[in-house]
């Protein structure tokens, strides 16, 4: 069964460092998303991506964040200069658009120290 895969599963980084979280969405999907879940809190939308550009972003997704689909299969989230409050589980998701659901990856747990 097709699935969304994310790497790494866990990343520890020092405050101020750049991190790149990687995702391989389901191959025939058209829409790609990043969500995050701070420990003990709800899952929050960060950004959606369609046709090689951001289609919507939340207020959380500030200039420190960027997304890219560099090679037609990977979908990445970059945090330029990490802060302690960026520590969270980051989920990638993809959907076919229209009346279809989003499929989520297993998540990357980011710990900023």
């Amino acid at each position: 069964e097709p699935e969304v895969t994310q790497t790494p599963s866990h990343q520890v980084t020092q405050m101020g460092q750049e991190v790149i979280l990687r995702c391989v969405p389901i191959s025939n999907h058209l829409y790609f998303y990043w969500y995050r879940q701070i420990l003990g809190q709800k899952v929050e939308f960060l950004v959606s991506f369609y046709n090689n550009e951001i289609s919507e972003k939340s207020e959380i997704f500030d200039d420190q964040f960027s997304v890219e689909r560099p090679d037609g299969s990977n979908f990445t989230l970059k945090i330029r200069s990490t802060k302690l409050e960026d520590s969270a589980m980051y989920f990638c998701a993809s959907s076919g658009g229209g009346h279809t659901e989003a499929f989520f990856g297993q998540g990357t747990r980011l710990t900023v120290v």
Binding site: K42, V43, F91, G97, G98, F104
Partner: protein, 115 residues
């Protein structure tokens, strides 16, 4: 703006007992509604979804949910809970635009199953 309320933060049920998890949404147009389950350290797995049509939808693992427009609710039910159902359950709503569906999640309900 759309929002989702899950009023129960924690629920404990005995194995074999019935279960109902509550979800209320706020959205102006016809919503797309979802229930996801998250086991510890795992990602989000879709249990079921409602887009249109029959308001009682069946999902995986014996779960069902009923969309009630008049009550703005989409409660999740299971007639007989198994110990493996212990997890966190999230209700979510998406804009029914036909395009990409940004999800707004509730705060989740942690289900504990007593043997």
């Amino acid at each position: 703006a759309q929002s989702v309320t899950q009023p129960d933060i924690h629920i404990t049920v005995s194995e074999g007992a019935s279960l109902e998890l509550r979800c209320n949404y706020s959205y102006g147009a016809t919503p797309y509604l979802f229930w996801y389950v998250q086991s510890p350290g795992q990602g989000l797995q879709l249990l079921l979804k409602y887009f249109s049509g029959d308001t009682l939808v069946q999902g995986i693992k014996g779960f069902e949910a009923e969309f009630k427009r008049s009550q703005s609710s989409f409660n999740l039910r299971k007639p007989s809970v198994h110990w493996s159902d212990a997890a966190e359950y999230f209700c979510a709503v998406a804009q029914g635009t036909g395009g990409g569906n940004k999800l707004t999640f509730g705060t989740g309900t942690q289900l504990k199953v007593e043997l």
